[in-house]
Point group: C2
Chain length 198, copies 2
């Protein structure tokens, strides 16, 4: 068991090819474009193999959701090689980076949100991932702003997330880049604001 022995050719293992195909179809055509047959075709495998690696269609979508959630979490992962406030600043800028503002990722995120609205099962997974993201962001704020009470850090993280979600959504609708840049500046402003004034 353990890691599979490498196949003779150089092709990736079929299971992740299948998952990748599902992610691609989901981002391009939405959930109604993700049929087991379409996934099999896109991955270049037989229909039966999709059901071999993933019991259900549900399991397949769940795996896709999980993979995107993991990707999201990496956005707010601490980077010890940077100064505290640089960690926070680069994290805030990452959400408008080239890889992220790619339509594929944004579209994927949108379709998964929509899916979470439709199925209680996905809603739970999504909410949990969202909380972890919020925690990660709050931690970055706290490290960059040690004097700030934790409650306030979480509030700021929540405020930042609102703007970030707005940026993601608005980027999908094709608004001008300038508004995105101004919104990034706004998240920085929230993050690095003086400790409170009331």
């Amino acid at each position: 068991m353990g890691t599979n022995t490498v196949k003779s050719g150089e092709q990736v293992d079929r299971q992740s090819r299948i998952l990748e195909a599902a992610l691609d179809l989901l981002s391009r055509h939405g959930i109604s474009g993700v049929s087991m047959r379409a996934v099999a075709r896109e991955a270049g495998v037989a229909l039966g193999l999709v059901n071999y690696y993933y019991d259900d269609k549900m399991s397949l979508i769940r795996a896709a959701l999980h993979s995107v959630d993991e990707h999201d979490l990496r956005l707010v992962a601490p980077d010890p090689s940077l100064a505290p406030d640089e960690q926070l600043r680069t994290a805030l800028h990452r959400v408008a980076g080239a890889e992220l503002l790619t339509t594929r990722y944004l579209s994927l995120r949108l379709h998964l949100w929509a899916l979470a609205q439709a199925h209680e099962d996905f809603a739970r997974i999504n909410a949990a991932a969202f909380d972890r993201y919020l925690d990660g962001l709050a931690a970055l704020v706290s490290v960059a702003h040690p004097a700030l009470p934790l409650k306030e850090c979480r509030d700021r993280a929540a405020d930042i997330v609102v703007v970030q979600n707005g940026m993601w959504l608005t980027a999908l609708l094709g608004i001008d880049k300038a508004a995105i840049q101004r919104s990034i500046a706004r998240t920085e402003q929230i993050a690095f604001a003086p400790p409170r004034d009331n």
Copy 2:
């Protein structure tokens, strides 16, 4: 022709019952929950009648999209009975009002966005509606802030929309109301900021 003669009973005309059913199903179960049969069942009519009023499934969804877009536009409609800055302020508060933060509307909006991502056809309609919304908001800003150049008004409107989209999305994910309230304050801050400082 013209308005139909009123049916004997007090029930609404079937066409709008069908559209309403489609909206309901879309908001609750997403696009894959909207089958012609499900719509007919929900509306309490026979299957054939759905295809009688709407040629396609596409036409039905298009009508749903159109109806929500109209609702969106009404959010930024000018209200001559109010003072200019009150018009803008109430419009900004409306997006977090009880009717709007209802899950049904938000969910609908989300699923329609997702649909627009999947079908070029819907994408165009959606983009056009989005532009009209942006124009409406920019007009409100302009009226409340007569000295401000029009370009600046549009920029502020774009910034506000980013935050509003974020609020809508985040409300769906069930974040605390406090963050929403702070975000509304942020939109006001953007709208009523002094004319520029650089």
